[in-house]
Symmetry: C2
Subunit: 510 residues, 2 copies
């Protein structure tokens, strides 16, 4: 499965369409150096792949993704070379959105972004919005075209935010390819997901074999096992997204040698398919639905604090991953040599509470997880615990790899769009942590109400206006020494990217 996507990307990257490698400063994961050339090139067309057409910010599959390969910002922004330079200006921090002219994003999705205030050379966030067609995998044994009775393919709508760190390569690669991996995973399921019967437990060996329905029910509930799980269509889509994340991460690992995929990225992805919205999150971005003014959380953040017990358990079971430098125990602060023999508060991997333990020599090692809030770190290095990439990430001044502690698996939450009649003011808001660092769910809900009520319900530009208001509100305005919010606190100095997806569903607003 991976090979099919890999061959496409290998061509894409080697053809000069991809960003050139960016050297990574070894001692400073957050400091990047060179960025991809901003000048637009004339990338070669990749070999046509049947059934993998994918659009780029349009309502229907149209262009191939390679068309934007030479841009460092999402193609749907349609930035000219001059626009790209403006978007790259840390001093001006101009908020970017797709132009009013031209085709709108699917569902009239709103989007806005702004570069950081100097934290890294370039904006390390990336975004993707696509309509992806999935053709059926099935062919007859002879390779002849499918019979008329066999089901057709389907489209899924796709939005992705990728918050890069330690370089922009992983975020850029994920923004170009993760939806292709999802597409590949769904190919096997085209017929199954459109069949009202429960998914077959067993399929023939290859997708090209005769129709699954001939063999799938060979072994029924009456088999040797007393019971068998009922597997839902929904859980197949979740499994497809989960495996797509894993394959994307494996591809990054394999191609990093040849193409230097630098850094890593958080990934927050939305898939709309057959009436349901799937929100998959790996990292510290966040998705919320604002419906009739009420907030419905659609993701959880994965950080050293929220995943402490998973990390500690891994360190406990595989102490070799800690080298001789780290302890899996947590202490409220660094233990000092003079405290040997005293008793200090600690938490082990099975504990949620704290207790005192006598300090021994091993406890002087650095804790695997330390710090609080935005300062929390795994191995004193990284502040998020899920995402894609980071295969080269090492502990500062050490050869100890951090990747084993990071998970590429997202948590997927499902929202059934058909269970509620949505009004034009009901939206799904996706934001990278630059947004959520300085605002919260209820403030966002207030902004949703304030901005949308200022526009006609059928004005499709209202969602971009809302995305811009959210980014502006989190960025702040240039006052005194810094970007200030109305309460005079500092705005977010991070890259900020926001999608606003109206929940009217496909067709209503597209």
């Amino acid at each position: 499965m991976l090979n099919r996507v890999r061959s496409a990307v290998a061509h894409l990257v080697s053809s000069g369409g991809a960003a050139p490698p960016r050297p990574k400063s070894p001692d400073s994961p957050s400091a990047t150096s060179e960025s991809p050339a901003a000048a637009p090139g004339a990338p070669k067309s990749p070999p046509a792949k049947p059934g993998t057409a994918s659009g780029s910010g349009s309502g229907a599959p149209a262009k191939t993704p390679e068309a934007r390969a030479s841009f460092s910002r999402p193609t749907f922004l349609q930035l000219s070379p001059r626009g790209l330079r403006r978007a790259d200006d840390h001093a001006g921090r101009v908020v970017q959105s797709p132009p009013d002219t031209g085709r709108r994003l699917p569902w009239s999705t709103g989007y806005a972004e702004v570069i950081n205030a100097g934290k890294s050379r370039h904006n390390e966030d990336q975004a993707c919005c696509e309509v992806v067609y999935v053709d059926s995998q099935r062919r007859s044994v002879t390779g002849a075209p499918r019979e008329a009775s066999q089901s057709q393919g389907f489209c899924f709508y796709y939005w992705g935010l990728f918050d890069g760190h330690a370089g922009g390569g992983a975020a850029e690669m994920a923004s170009r390819l993760l939806h292709r991996h999802i597409q590949e995973q769904l190919k096997d399921l085209v017929d199954i997901l459109q069949d009202p019967l429960p998914p077959p437990l067993c399929l023939p060996s290859t997708p090209g074999s005769p129709s699954y329905s001939n063999t799938s029910h060979l072994v029924g509930p009456q088999s040797c096992w007393s019971s068998q799980k009922e597997v839902t269509h929904e859980s197949l889509v979740i499994g497809a997204i989960e495996n797509a994340f894993q394959l994307m991460d494996e591809q990054m690992a394999q191609e990093r040698r040849g193409y230097q995929v630098d850094g890593g990225c958080c990934a927050l992805v939305v898939v709309y398919l057959l009436g349901k919205v799937y929100v998959a999150n790996a990292g510290d971005s966040r998705a919320i639905i604002v419906r009739n003014g009420e907030v419905i959380p659609m993701s959880r953040e994965f950080t050293p604090e929220t995943e402490r017990q998973r990390l500690q358990l891994l360190g406990f079971l595989k102490p070799e991953l800690l080298g001789s430098e780290f302890t899996h125990l947590e202490f409220p602060r660094r233990v000092q040599p003079k405290e040997l023999g005293q008793r200090m508060l600690y938490r082990d991997q099975n504990m949620t509470g704290w207790a005192y333990k006598k300090i021994e020599l091993e406890d002087l090692r650095f804790p695997l997880v330390c710090g609080e809030g935005k300062k929390a770190r795994v191995m004193a290095t990284i502040g998020v615990t899920r995402g894609l990439g980071d295969h080269n990430l090492k502990v500062c001044s050490s050869t100890l790899p951090i990747k084993p502690f990071l998970s590429c698996f997202p948590e997927v939450q499902v929202y059934d769009l058909t269970q509620y009649e949505h009004c034009p003011d009901d939206v799904l808001v996706l934001g990278t942590d630059g947004l959520w660092d300085v605002t919260n769910d209820s403030e966002v809900a207030t902004t949703v109400d304030r901005v949308l009520s200022a526009y006609e319900p059928n004005d499709p530009s209202r969602y971009t206006a809302l995305a811009q208001a959210l980014v502006l509100g989190a960025r702040g305005t240039p006052r005194d020494r810094g970007w200030r919010l109305p309460n005079n606190k500092l705005g977010s100095g991070d890259d900020i990217s926001v999608f606003v997806i109206p929940l009217g569903g496909p067709g209503n607003y597209s």
Copy 2:
């Protein structure tokens, strides 16, 4: 710490006060054989331990727990030899409660239990209700009595339900000793928990050293670490309970050789201390608060289904624990040899969704986790994944130990009793799975309302009446061939034990 409790129990057991060893049927974990002798003996008194007085079903610490060592049911039931035989009758299934005469349980707690319908020879549930005094650990350096300025000890109220399996030894041991382990863990904290200041991060090496306040703030927030966690008093109590569970489990492991602690048990424990209720659950018992008719869940069940990912991760990271007999992958049913090469639905440890994979030889192994609902099993053997004991438990017809997959750590939930003015109808209900197998939270809430409204609010017997109604309602009545519920479904054939704790707090109802 363990040694202090161990020495007490070693004496207790060797003095003849404990239940005699029960041989365990090696191939049938759910079938027990001999039970402790029902005849009351005259147990020797254990050596007096300063500061460890503990009552047995009375409002104040009074008797030592050894007094009930020769009974196979909780002492607070005050069963005569004849009463004990009646309680042991599978045909009659008489509901047992503390007698109306004599001292009430603390807080006028209600209790009722019934033996199973023949599933095991004896009732393998055990219960405990105590008021436990915790004296301060601190002594001056010279060993002289504490100064007047130093704080006094405190009491905690304690309720425990222990649902045994594969023998009653673990449940009986836990019912006698787990509160002592909690008491030991809290000794260090007597002064700290009564001090409004945040807990010190560091204490002197031994409890006997000069008062902690002299040295605890040696290293303050201004130390080398940029931040330090704030640890709450509440999280210290949680840590104490967690460590007490672990030490109880270790004690069972160590003493099983000498005293044959057979089987294992789920443990559901409530500690009331300094205004807060701590509910600690390891297993599939359940606690709910019914407040003003509304249900507040106070525990989660730990079963092969709810802990699937933890179990699979352990099998994945430590494949040697699976032998050559099990696979960590989950399949919706057993894979058959003839399906080799076909593709079957599966879930890996990182997945919540399902996907298809090609069946390979290793997939023919038995899944680590299989089955659904009450039939779900770890290694085809055990249906709960947390609890105490089970150190001898092996996979059927194998030498593979199951214990590494079981966790002795409880999940602790906290309820602040001071945040709400409780009325006499607000109760905390604890029940073993025999109750919850045939009823649910809202049905219990309905019974709470129905029974309590039939009694005067100040009638302390109403909580025992409620506990009896809950047990009777889950047991059913003897009709046709079996114990039937009003809807003609089968009642629970399992042991059932229920505590009903009024939330008026200490003093109001005691």
